[in-house]
């Protein structure tokens, strides 16, 4: 407590605390991260207004969900990392249980059982997006790092079990991203490069096995990526229309709400997975680069928080959340520009949709908690 006071004094001496800084400190919020998030969210809302075709009802709905998500972020930020760490295994187990429930009795939406109706409809896989890396970090935080091989097996179970359950829903995109978020924890924990290489090589036969487990439409997506023009009105349609939208935007875009691809509904999923293409068409390369700059800033700030974190649990969780966020951005933008298969990953903080927004901001709430509950020295 004394040290904490010292910290405060040191900081106080370094730069005078303004009223805003004091409020942020009291609310356990990280200023730069908050500013970055608010900028991206505002940008996103502007683009979304155009993408939903100026449908005020949809747009206001999204604003409300954003408000809820921001409140959730602020609440989470109040919880100290040690508290979250203690509750991590229970959250993980709860998430697993719900996933099993979904598979046995979930609602079918868009051909997949992803939704669970518990008063409010939500996707249990959203819990796992945070629970998996936290569980992996929880498992590792008391152990000597880098992890030993036997520990890797346990980590493997922690990561693979929910991934397989989600993949069975089927929601391959989310499953892969959750798997990635867990693996990132392991990599950040210091897995030796030799083992990384070994896993990398093992991934080749793994890919073949995965191919066999894929549903037809998932395989189709991979094949379509390789040659979208082979089926211009079928599976390749999304990618072709998305490339036309982005390409026709040029440097400066066609102007906000003036994208013909988006407004005339040539672009599929224009307010969810393909909103990046709407932005590309209407705001051009400059608009997209501005957005990417904001994303880079957020990821950078997240990694900065991770490096500064006082304990390995916080470090690993913050690192994984930040890098996973980047993976979301990369996968979505690469998918929309036709670099990777269409896997159904929304553009974080911009795409229409409430659940993923809450999860993301809760994740940033965890980052803020880690940053603002930090001690000067390890316990």
């Amino acid at each position: 407590m004394q040290l904490s006071d010292t910290q405060r004094i040191v900081d106080h001496n370094a730069r005078p605390l303004g009223a805003a800084s004091r409020l942020l400190r009291r609310l356990h919020l990280d200023g730069p991260l908050l500013i970055g998030l608010l900028l991206i969210i505002s940008f996103g809302l502007v683009v979304l207004y155009s993408a939903v075709g100026a449908n005020m009802q949809l747009w206001v709905g999204q604003c409300m969900r954003l408000g809820v998500a921001l409140i959730a972020m602020v609440i989470i930020a109040q919880l100290p990392p040690s508290f979250m760490r203690r509750w991590t295994p229970w959250g993980y187990l709860l998430g697993l249980g719900l996933l099993v429930l979904v598979l046995t009795g979930g609602e079918v939406g868009k051909g997949a059982q992803r939704w669970l109706d518990l008063g409010v409809r939500f996707q249990p896989s959203e819990i796992m997006k945070l629970a998996v890396p936290m569980m992996a970090a929880w498992y590792l935080h008391e152990r000597t790092l880098p992890p030993r091989f036997s520990q890797l097996l346990v980590l493997g179970v922690i990561i693979v079990l929910p991934t397989v359950l989600i993949a069975r829903q089927p929601d391959l995109g989310t499953a892969l991203l959750i798997g990635v978020s867990g693996i990132l924890v392991v990599l950040l924990a210091g897995l030796s490069f030799r083992l990384i290489l070994a896993f990398g090589l093992a991934a080749v036969p793994g890919a073949f096995i995965l191919w066999n487990f894929m549903k037809d439409y998932q395989r189709q997506r991979v094949l379509t990526l390789l040659d979208p023009d082979s089926d211009p009105l079928g599976a390749g349609y999304n990618i072709i229309q998305s490339k036309i939208a982005i390409g026709s935007g040029g440097l400066f875009g066609k102007g906000w709400t003036n994208g013909s691809q988006a407004q005339l509904e040539f672009l599929p999923e224009r307010n969810t997975d393909f909103i990046f293409a709407v932005m590309g068409e209407e705001l051009g390369l400059l608009g997209l680069l501005s957005l990417l700059v904001l994303y880079v800033f957020i990821v950078g700030r997240g990694l900065h928080i991770a490096i500064q974190a006082g304990d390995s649990f916080s470090r690993l969780v913050a690192g994984s959340i930040s890098l996973t966020f980047f993976v979301y951005v990369f996968v979505n933008t690469a998918m929309v520009t036709g670099l990777v298969p269409v896997v159904g990953v929304p553009l974080p903080l911009v795409s229409f949709g409430g659940t993923s927004m809450v999860t993301l901001l809760v994740g940033f709430g965890i980052l803020m908690s880690i940053q603002t509950h930090r001690k000067l020295l390890p316990q």
Binding site: T144, L187, G190, Q241, N258, L264, L289, V299, I307, G319
Partner: protein
């Protein structure tokens, strides 16, 4: 603190972590660079390609079909117009339950229950916003019935569209023809691009022959469509680049005919219940005043599409109502050619006008026993050329036929327009047939059939045998006699009017090579005889020419029907009816200033002077009466 924690090397852990974060950051930057490179590729280097494709995506060229030109008679009365007809349409996306809706429409008799499966197919075939036609023409009663029930049928409504309409359908059916739905064979014949928005095209008659004038030019409109092809109203979009490009359709040209609707009506009434044709020509120009073929049909069924059974009944009708007898019916001309043969005999010096023959009722060629009969068994006695024409003495012509010779006959008949196409401005005309030695050499396969026999010349002299002529050709020949040799191409269209600026371009009459006589008094001889046919004391058609306010000339003809095809299918009465002689008559009037020339052919009408002549008289009466009242 546990043992494990105590041996943890926090600084080493942190060092490794920082290293990993740096490695991860490098990878992140690399991945991001790939995405940015991709964006630059798409938005900078391939910008033009994609900009073009996005244009192609949203614009669709939509054809604006032109309004078809109107057709008027010589007095400006509309013969073909475009009227709105109401059709019942269903828009699939607005109908909650198509099957149920169709069943309920069938229950109130607006659609046929048998059509339901077909309509259901249609609703599934096209885009869901595209209307499907349930019924092509609603009667007023049906419109009223549906209007009351409309709230029960969301997504179903009646819509107006322009449909070709012939207000005097039956009277002008054969001359005007009709339009029908475009078929694939039409599209092979027409310029497909010009017909993108058009549903109908001319099938017969003037509608067919003047298609290029009547059709007009298709307009184009650039419309903005969304991904499903649905047109987007421009004002609902804020797209700055959205500019409507429109090139209006040019309506088809109106055409003006020489046909006189009043004459058409008289001719149609006169032919009621008969098979035959009436053609009247203004001899001074070749303008066709009337052209009727009976039985007629109602052309209004064709633009709307008729049922299979309706069409079958038209096609299978023994009286062939769709057959345009005026230009396609080829009949033995019978005695109607006698005036022409008289002229040729006078001109070639075979006879003089005072040459006499003694008619005993039959004629026998030297060295033969075959008797060629006169229509009057007891004979006409001693007749000169005048008598031979007025009383239509066959023996007189039998006797001079050998001297006249078949090839000479052919040449003269040909000069008067028989045996070849008249060149009328509608399609489908038949040439008729005037035999000659040369013709017979080529017409037959067997050597013994190729030779010309003297007996064939004999029957040719009274327009029998191989000889065939269409009513149009006979009317044209009558006009030539009336004009003393001046000839014109018979035609229906007198002017074409630009329907945009109202400029009317007259189509001038085309003169043909005149028939020039060495001695023009020969015209007087023959025309005088023809005058007495109708208004002389012993003329065959004096009954038809009686009590007229003007002078007229004519010639009757009664042609034998030699064979009847498909004889076995006829009933007894039917055979008797269809073996009767064809009745023919040609006429013109007034004598000194010919304004109208008429040909009447009544199939199996028995008597040219008794049946056909009164019709010719009625036509001339009506025409001259209205002409005179117009000039007074």
């Amino acid at each position: 603190m546990s043992l494990l924690t105590s041996i943890k090397d926090h600084h080493a852990e942190k060092r490794i972590f920082v290293q990993r974060v740096i490695a991860a950051s490098i990878i992140c930057v690399l991945l991001l660079s790939i995405v940015i490179a991709r964006l630059i590729q798409l938005q900078v280097f391939e910008f033009e390609h994609y900009a073009e494709r996005s244009q192609g995506n949203r614009f669709r060229i939509e054809a604006l079909p032109p309004t078809r030109g109107l057709i008027f008679d010589r007095k400006g009365r509309v013969l073909a117009e475009n009227l709105p007809a109401y059709q019942l349409e269903l828009i699939p996306e607005q109908v909650p339950d198509v099957e149920d809706t169709l069943q309920r429409l069938a229950a109130i008799n607006l659609i046929n229950r048998d059509d339901i499966p077909r309509i259901q197919q249609l609703t599934k075939a096209g885009p869901r916003f595209k209307p499907v036609t349930l019924s092509f023409r609603l009667t007023e009663e049906e419109i009223a019935r549906f209007a009351i029930q409309r709230p029960r049928f969301p997504g179903v409504d009646f819509q107006p569209r322009l449909v070709r309409h012939y207000p005097h359908g039956i009277e002008v059916a054969h001359a005007i023809g009709y339009v029908g739905a475009l078929s694939t064979s039409d599209l092979n014949r027409l310029d497909t691009a010009a017909y993108t928005g058009t549903a109908h095209t001319g099938k017969t008659g003037l509608e067919y022959s003047f298609e290029s004038d009547l059709h007009g030019d298709t307009g184009h409109q650039q419309v903005i469509t969304n991904a499903r092809g649905r047109q987007i109203p421009l004002d609902s979009l804020q797209l700055q680049s959205a500019q409507e490009q429109k090139e209006s359709a040019t309506p088809g040209e109106n055409i003006y005919l020489s046909l006189d609707l009043d004459l058409q009506k008289i001719a149609t009434d006169a032919l009621k219940g008969r098979r035959g044709s009436v053609v009247a020509i203004d001899p001074r120009s070749g303008e066709i005043l009337t052209m009727v073929s009976a039985p007629g049909f109602d052309p209004n069924y064709f633009p709307l599409g008729m049922s299979r059974s309706q069409y079958a009944s038209l096609i299978n009708d023994l009286d062939q109502p769709l057959f345009n007898r005026a230009i396609r019916g080829q009949y033995p001309p019978g005695s109607t050619i006698k005036p022409i043969l008289a002229i040729s005999a006078l001109e070639t010096g075979v006879i003089t006008k005072n040459h006499r023959a003694f008619c005993t009722g039959s004629f026998t060629l030297p060295g033969s026993t075959h008797r060629y009969r006169d229509w009057k068994p007891e004979g006409h006695g001693s007749v000169d050329l005048h008598d031979a024409i007025t009383q239509s003495c066959d023996v007189y012509f039998y006797e001079i036929s050998n001297d006249l010779d078949i090839d000479n006959m052919h040449d003269w008949l040909f000069k008067f327009g028989l045996g070849h196409l008249t060149g009328i401005d509608i399609d489908g005309e038949k040439p008729g047939l005037v035999p000659s030695r040369a013709w017979k050499r080529n017409a037959f396969q067997r050597r013994e059939d190729r030779a010309w026999f003297p007996g064939e010349t004999v029957i040719a002299s009274i327009g029998q045998g191989y000889m065939l002529a269409t009513p149009l050709q006979l009317a044209s020949a009558a006009a030539t006699i009336a004009m003393r040799g001046k000839r014109f191409v018979p035609h229906l269209v007198t002017a074409v009017e630009d329907s945009v600026n109202g400029e009317r371009i007259p189509l001038t009459s085309v003169a043909l090579e005149d028939v020039v006589l060495k001695d023009s008094r020969n015209w007087d001889t023959v025309i005088g005889a023809m005058h007495d046919v109708m208004q002389g004391a012993r003329g065959t058609a004096r009954a038809a020419g009686a009590r007229a306010k003007y002078q007229m000339a004519g010639k009757s003809g009664t042609a034998q029907v030699f064979s009847v095809s498909q004889e076995d299918e006829y009933e007894e009465d039917e055979i008797a009816e269809r073996l009767k002689d064809h009745a023919l008559f040609i006429a013109f009037a007034p004598l000194d200033d010919p304004q109208i020339a008429v040909a009447v052919v009544i199939e199996n009408g028995s008597s040219g002077s008794g049946v056909a002549a009164p019709i010719a008289r009625a036509i001339m009466d009506k025409y001259l009466e209205s002409n005179n009242s117009a000039t007074k």
